[in-house]
């Protein structure tokens, strides 16, 4: 047993950390956030040159063939920088899904372009309320909602229910007739879009086992995304906790640094407990997110998301609280970490969803025993 990362892994993490420190400062991020598109293709190309877009693509397709641990290290390092570009959607989830669900031809066509940053592929899965996307005679109708980064995609992968009840996977050009993309910023400064489909022409891309039912492949890809999201959360927690410790050491009231007050010290200790328990679960999530045993995998990932979701809330809220009025300002990056941590808790299933899923499985097993 060991919890160390090897030399290659440390080098990869250092590369991303250096990029964030040098080339993705708070001011550049602010300018990108306030630009019309809300993200930067120039940044995307810089990431391609660093090789990090190739992390989730296999070597046969020009990628690095890394696994969830390396992906986690990249996401962790992006955490503090609050990357606005679609790394999780386009460099983690999309290649994971393409590899598991689509034909060899489709993979040959798209995976190399993902690795080089030439194409951005985004998976649209969450249906609008009462407007689930259906596939009838190869045409898609319905609504996908709050699809992160859908408005910067060159190609959309869309899940849709077919007449026979199976979930199928389709490729869709954003400019195709019948497609309306309504993009907007989200709470955390990132982009998302609603995808309105009215008899949109799309190509079925599911292959092999997933041709008629892509559910398992979709779950598997989203589980890889969830583990990556957990790693990002740890990076933001680390930055948030460290910044709060610094603030407590420098901010003076009543003639002393406020970090001398025990009420605040104990709050910081509680924040550290949340952070370390979360880090542990993030490691476990990375190790288990590709486990073919779906029950075990989902059990672990739900446990991770509960631990991390609760920590996101606790750390974010208390970091703002301990910063006092300054914590409320847009000027400090702290408030932006707060918003991303808030959004992470609500993504890929929130704490309640995962606690209930875990509890349901626990109840079934305890009663069967």
């Amino acid at each position: 047993m060991n919890f160390d990362f090897n030399e290659d892994q440390r080098a990869l993490a250092d590369t991303v950390r250096r990029f964030v420190a040098k080339d993705y400062g708070f001011e550049r991020r602010r300018a990108i956030r306030d630009s019309a598109s809300g993200w930067s293709r120039a940044v995307w190309q810089e990431l391609a040159e660093l090789g990090v877009l190739a992390v989730g693509v296999g070597e046969g397709h020009g990628g690095l063939g890394y696994g969830p641990l390396e992906t986690g290290l990249v996401m962790n390092a992006f955490g503090a920088g609050l990357l606005l570009e679609p790394y999780l959607a386009a460099a983690v989830v999309a290649p994971a899904l393409i590899r598991r669900a689509t034909s060899a031809d489709f993979q040959d066509q798209w995976l190399p372009r993902i690795a080089t940053g030439d194409s951005i592929v985004v998976f649209a899965h969450q249906d609008g309320r009462g407007e689930a996307v259906r596939a009838i005679d190869g045409k898609l109708s319905g609504r996908k909602t709050v699809v992160t980064h859908a408005d910067c995609a060159d190609l959309l992968l869309v899940s849709a229910r077919a007449a026979d009840g199976g979930v199928r996977l389709f490729a869709l050009a954003p400019a195709a007739p019948g497609v309306t993309l309504r993009g907007y910023p989200t709470l955390d400064g990132q982009r998302a879009a609603d995808l309105l489909l009215d008899q949109a022409t799309a190509t079925e891309v599911g292959a092999g086992d997933t041709a008629n039912n892509a559910t398992q492949a979709i779950d598997a890809a989203l589980d890889i995304g969830l583990a990556a999201l957990c790693a990002e959360a740890i990076g933001i927690m680390e930055a948030t906790v460290a910044a709060t410790v610094d603030y407590l050491k420098t901010r003076r009231q009543f003639g002393q640094p406020i970090g001398r007050f025990q009420a605040l010290q104990h709050r910081m200790a509680d924040m550290l407990l949340h952070q370390e328990q979360s880090r542990s679960m993030s490691y476990l999530a990375a190790m288990q997110c590709t486990n073919p045993d779906q029950k075990l995998r989902q059990r672990t990932l739900s446990a991770a998301k509960v631990t991390i979701g609760q920590a996101c809330r606790f750390i974010a809220q208390n970091a703002v609280q301990l910063h006092g009025g300054m914590g409320m300002t847009d000027e400090l990056i702290l408030s932006h970490w707060f918003k991303r941590l808030t959004a992470i808790e609500m993504s890929f299933g929130d704490t309640d969803f995962h606690l209930q899923r875990f509890a349901a499985q626990l109840s079934r097993e305890a009663q069967a025993a």
């Binding site: 047993m1 160390d4 025990q262 370390e276 209930q356």
Partner: protein, 388 residues
Amino acid sequence: MDLDFSPGENAFREEVRQFVNDGLPPHIRHKVMNGIHLDRDDHVLWQRTLHQRGWGGVGWPREFGGPGWTPTELYIFEEECAKGGAPRLISFGLKMIAPVLMVFGSPEQQARYLPKIMSAEEWWCQGYSEPGAGSDLASLKTRAELVKSSAGDHYLVNGQKTWTTLGQYADWIFCLVRTDPEAKPQRGISFLLIDMKSPGVTVRPIITLDGAHEVNEVWLEDVRVPVANRIGEENQGWTYAKFLLGHERTNIAGIGIAKRELARLKRIAAAEGRLDEALFAARVAQLEIDLMALEITNLRVLSAEGAHQAPGPEASILKIKGTEIQQAIAELMMQAVGSAALPVGQTGVGPDYAANLGAGYCNLRKLSIFGGSNEIQKNIISQMIMGL
């Protein structure tokens, strides 16, 4: 990164599991599995059973007759013992005074005391806390005056120790005493080994909220203690005391115990039909999730320890979370049976498993108080880890 135990460690786990399965007397297992109080003989019998297997010196190096396990093997041993229903090891001899003797004791002291700890011939208790010295241990007042005499120099000890766990069974007590009242609090303390049969030693029970007699007051009135019973140098006792507290923190998270008790909670909750309630099931789920995370956190600390980095203040994280989880399991177990947990000392009112759940819940409130209260642990985290 590799979260798996090595093949050798897995084989060791199997060996321990088998040993506990075959070697643990069934009446002891029954008590542990059902939260029933153990008596002195139960503890002694289990320690002797371990000793016969060559495992009496749990956590000890080979040179002192221990099995020489790595920190990971020790962790596996304690986890399997707990899951198999073995009693918690009585730590005062094995894990507290023994490591102090090994590092700071004279060869004569080592030869005199260590073998009888391993064989359970002598029971030790801890004389640290006093009525006026709890978290602020260095303010202790028990006085030891050096008396020169032709019959051999000795200390005359006067004072009171308290919260002395299982002191009613003890043959020996290791005591922090003040030998220099003029020096700064930490500087004037010495570390003495006192025979509980000495004239002037009186043990008085303290009955705790669960009705149990687990802790005691120990009164020391003109107790004569030979100078040969002092550990190390006079007035250097605080150094040895802190060293001991560091060792007290091994297995502090109690992962094995928590796993065993969580399994009991699930059995009781299932029998009571409580797992059909989404809210109750979610509370159980939350504990299982917290425990999963703590197990990995514990293994991370262990892994750093194995690489010869000091365990350090991270152990405080394990203490806080581990005790919170154990307390919450006991609380939920009591909740699971509802009012059937309220009758005291009755059988046949509710199901058998409900009879001692109220007392069990009450008893475990101690966990967040002893071994450095959880508030002291938070001081350590914020000051030692975070530099506040």
